[in-house]
C-alpha cells in the first residue's frame, strides 16, 4: 500500500491518484494534408463551382420564353433602305418585268400577313429594312393563275414541294399576299405560329371532342379551341373585306344571328365562345361560298401538309389513333384540296410540304413521288429536250421508278386524297438571273459587302446546290462573312 508522505517540496507531488476521466480529452488527430484519398464522409467531387453568379432577376413568366422564340422580327433598322425598290401591287404582280427582282411588301399588307401568321421564324425577315420578296418564276406563275381564277371562277388546287430551303413557305406567303391585294378572303393554317402550331392540329395539344351531329363512321372530332383561333385569324386578317359582307343565309345556331350582321362580326362570335366555334365556322364558310350574294374568291392555305396526312396523336375512346382526316378542320382542308368540295365563287387551295419539320408520312411521300416521277417518263430523255437545256436546268438523270415499299403499310385515305387533277409543283433552285437579283438586293441593303458580279453569283449559286434560295441566303448574308 502506498502512502503519501508529506513532500519536501510543497507544490509538487510525487504521485497522483486523480482519476483518468478528469484529465483533458485527447485531441482528435488532424487529417494529414499529405495523405492520399478523401476522408470518410467528405465529398471529394465538387462539380459545382463555389462562386457561381446567380441572376438576381426573376425567372421569365410562363410563356415569355416561347413568345421570344416565336417572335417575328420584320425590320432591321441598321440595314440600308433599298432605293427604287418597287412595292408588290395588283398591277405589277404578274408583270414579266419584275421577275428576278425583290419587291417590297406594303405596310398594311404586312399587318394582314402578320395577322394571318404567314411569316415564319428563321426566314431572315429581320435582316432587312422592311419585308421584301423575290419574284421568281413560280411567283409570277401563281400571279397569273390567280388572275385566271378570277376570270374563270375556277379553283386552283396545288401542292408545293421541294427540298429544304427551296422557298415553299415563301411562295405560299407570296400567294397569300397576292390574294390580300386582290381583296380575297384568306384562310390560313400556318405551320408554326405564335399561339397554335400547325402540328397542334394533330399533335393532341388542344382539346377535342366528338362532333355530336356526325353519324358517319369513323366519327368526326371537333377542336373547339383551335377553331376559335382559326376564326380569330380569319377575322383579324380579313377584317376589311369581311366587315363589308353581310349575312345572307339563315343559320340554325345556338345564338340568334341578326340579319345584316357582318361576316367579321359573325367570326368574332365564334372567337368569343369556343363552344360554338365550329358551327360558326361552318356558317361563315356557307356564307363565303354562297352564290346568292356577291362573294369574293377564297384562298385556303396550309403549311406543313405532312402533319394532316397521317394518324393524329389523338385517341378515340377505344384508344385507337384518330386519323387526321377525321378532325373537322383537317378534313375541311383535305376535302377542298382533293376537290371533294368546291369553291363556287372560285379561289385557290394551296398546300406546302415542310422539309425542316418533317413528320413521318410515307403515304404522302409516295403519292407525291409517284406524281412527280411517273413510271412512264422515267425512260431516257428525248434528244430534243436535252438540247434545249438552259443553265438553270439540271441534267436529266435516270431514276428508279417509284414503287410501293412492300414492307411499309400505306394509308389509302391519304393516297386517295392526292387526286390526279391536283397539281403538284416541285420547287427547284433559282435561275442565275434570279439569284443575281436577290444578291443585288442583299448588297443594296448593306448586308452583303461584296461586289455582285458574274463570278460571285456563280460561286454562291453553286454553293447553294444549284440556286436553292435558302442556301443562297445562308451563304451570302447569314453564314460566315467572306
Amino acid at each position: 500500500m502506498l502512502r503519501c508522505s508529506p513532500s519536501i517540496h510543497p507544490g509538487s507531488r510525487l504521485f497522483s491518484t486523480t482519476p483518468a476521466f478528469l484529465a483533458n480529452p485527447i485531441k482528435a488527430k488532424r487529417p494529414d494534408p499529405n495523405s492520399s484519398g478523401p476522408q470518410k464522409g467528405v465529398k471529394s467531387l465538387k462539380i459545382k463551382k463555389k462562386n457561381t453568379l446567380r441572376s438576381a432577376g426573376r425567372p421569365p413568366a410562363p410563356g415569355e420564353r416561347k413568345a421570344l422564340r416565336k417572335r417575328i422580327v420584320l425590320s432591321n433598322t441598321n440595314a440600308l433602305e433599298v432605293k427604287g425598290m418597287q412595292d408588290l401591287s395588283n398591277d405589277n404582280m404578274a408583270d414579266k418585268q419584275i421577275q428576278g427582282t425583290v419587291v417590297g411588301l406594303p405596310g398594311p399588307l404586312v399587318d394582314q400577313l402578320r395577322a394571318a401568321e404567314a411569316f415564319r421564324t428563321g426566314q431572315g425577315w429581320g435582316l432587312f429594312r422592311r419585308p421584301g420578296v423575290l419574284m421568281r418564276e413560280n411567283s409570277l406563275e401563281i400571279a397569273r393563275d390567280l388572275q385566271d381564277v378570277v376570270s374563270g371562277k375556277k379553283t386552283l388546287r396545288r401542292i408545293y414541294t421541294g427540298e429544304r430551303g427551296s422557298g415553299k413557305s415563301v411562295v405560299l406567303l407570296q400567294a397569300i399576299a397576292m390574294a390580300f391585294l386582290k381583296d380575297w378572303v384568306v384562310v390560313t393554317i400556318p405551320e408554326a405560329s405564335q399561339n397554335r402550331i400547325a402540328q397542334d392540329l394533330t399533335n393532341a395539344h388542344t382539346e377535342y371532342a366528338p362532333l355530336s351531329s356526325s353519324t358517319t363512321t369513323p366519327s368526326q372530332y371537333v377542336q373547339r379551341a383551335y377553331t376559335a383561333s382559326l376564326l380569330s385569324r380569319i377575322s383579324k386578317a380579313n377584317s376589311a373585306v369581311l366587315s363589308d359582307l353581310k349575312v345572307s343565309l339563315s343559320h340554325k345556331l345556338r345564338i340568334p344571328i341578326q340579319p345584316g350582321t357582318s361576316l367579321s362580326h359573325l367570326a368574332d362570335l365564334g372567337v368569343r365562345d369556343p363552344d360554338i366555334a365550329w358551327p360558326i365556322f361552318q356558317a361563315l364558310w356557307g356564307e363565303l361560298t354562297s352564290t346568292k350574294a356577291a362573294r369574293p374568291p377564297i384562298m385556303l392555305t396550309l403549311d406543313g401538309l405532312g402533319h394532316i396526312m397521317r394518324d393524329s396523336q389523338y385517341r378515340d375512346p377505344a384508344f385507337k389513333p384518330i386519323h387526321a382526316h377525321d378532325l373537322t378542320i383537317a378534313r375541311h382542308f383535305v376535302d377542298h384540296l382533293s376537290g371533294v368540295r368546291s369553291l363556287p365563287n372560285g379561289g385557290a387551295v394551296l398546300a406546302a410540304t415542310s422539309a425542316s419539320n418533317v413528320p413521318f408520312a410515307p403515304s404522302l411521300a409516295l403519292a407525291i413521288d409517284q406524281r412527280l416521277h411517273p413510271t412512264t417518263s422515267a425512260s431516257s430523255p428525248s434528244p430534243s429536250s436535252s438540247s434545249s437545256l438552259s443553265s438553270s436546268q439540271q441534267m436529266p438523270v435516270w431514276r428508279k421508278p417509284v414503287q410501293r415499299n412492300p414492307f411499309m403499310t400505306y394509308d389509302e385515305r391519304v393516297l386517295q386524297s392526292i387526286t390526279p387533277d391536283l397539281e403538284i409543283v416541285e420547287l427547284q433552285g433559282l435561275t442565275r438571273e434570279e439569284a443575281r437579283g436577290l444578291m443585288e438586293y442583299y448588297a443594296a441593303s448593306g448586308m452583303l459587302r461584296h461586289r455582285v458580279d458574274e463570278s460571285f453569283v456563280t460561286e454562291k449559286w453553286t454553293i447553294a446546290g444549284g440556286g436553292i434560295v435558302g442556301e443562297i441566303e445562308k451563304a451570302s448574308v447569314m453564314g460566315p462573312r467572306v
Binding site: T206, R315, F319
Partner: protein, 119 residues
C-alpha cells in the same frame, strides 16, 4: 381546385399527373382513361369540363385502385403463405421470391417482401 375521387387538385395540375397520383393508375391506364373521355394528354385539371370530371370520378370509383388494390395484393401474398407454398414462405421471411441469390443485394426484398405489404 377540382375534386377527382375525393382528392383536391390545383387547377394547373396536368390531368395525367393527377390521375397517376392514385395507386394503381400508371402512364398507360391514365392515357386510356383520358382517351375514354376525350381529354387530350396535355390537358390541365382546370380546363376540363365538369362532366368529364364526374365521368372520371365515376370510372375511377369502379376500378380496383388505392386501398382495394393494396388489399388485393396483401390477400394474394396471404393466400400463398396459407397454402404453405415456397413463395409464401419467402414472402414471410422477407427474402427474394424468385430464386435470386441472397448473399448480397437483397435490400429490395427485405423492404418489400412481407405478409402485410404496404403497396
Amino acid at each position: 381546385m377540382v375534386f377527382i375521387l375525393g382528392v383536391n387538385f390545383p387547377e394547373q395540375r396536368l390531368v395525367k399527373r393527377a390521375l397517376e397520383s392514385f395507386y394503381g393508375v400508371g402512364p398507360s391506364i391514365s392515357l386510356r382513361l383520358m382517351a375514354k373521355f376525350h381529354i387530350h394528354p396535355t390537358a390541365r385539371v382546370g380546363e376540363i369540363a365538369t362532366k368529364q370530371v364526374t365521368d372520371l370520378t365515376a370510372e375511377l370509383s369502379s376500378m380496383t385502385i388505392e386501398n382495394d388494390l393494396r388489399r388485393r395484393l396483401r390477400d394474394n401474398i396471404k393466400r400463398l403463405r396459407d397454402m404453405g407454398t415456397y413463395r409464401g414462405r419467402r414472402h414471410a421471411m422477407g427474402l427474394p421470391v424468385r430464386g435470386q441469390s441472397t448473399q448480397t443485394q437483397i435490400s429490395t426484398a427485405r423492404k418489400l417482401n412481407k405478409i402485410e405489404r404496404k403497396g
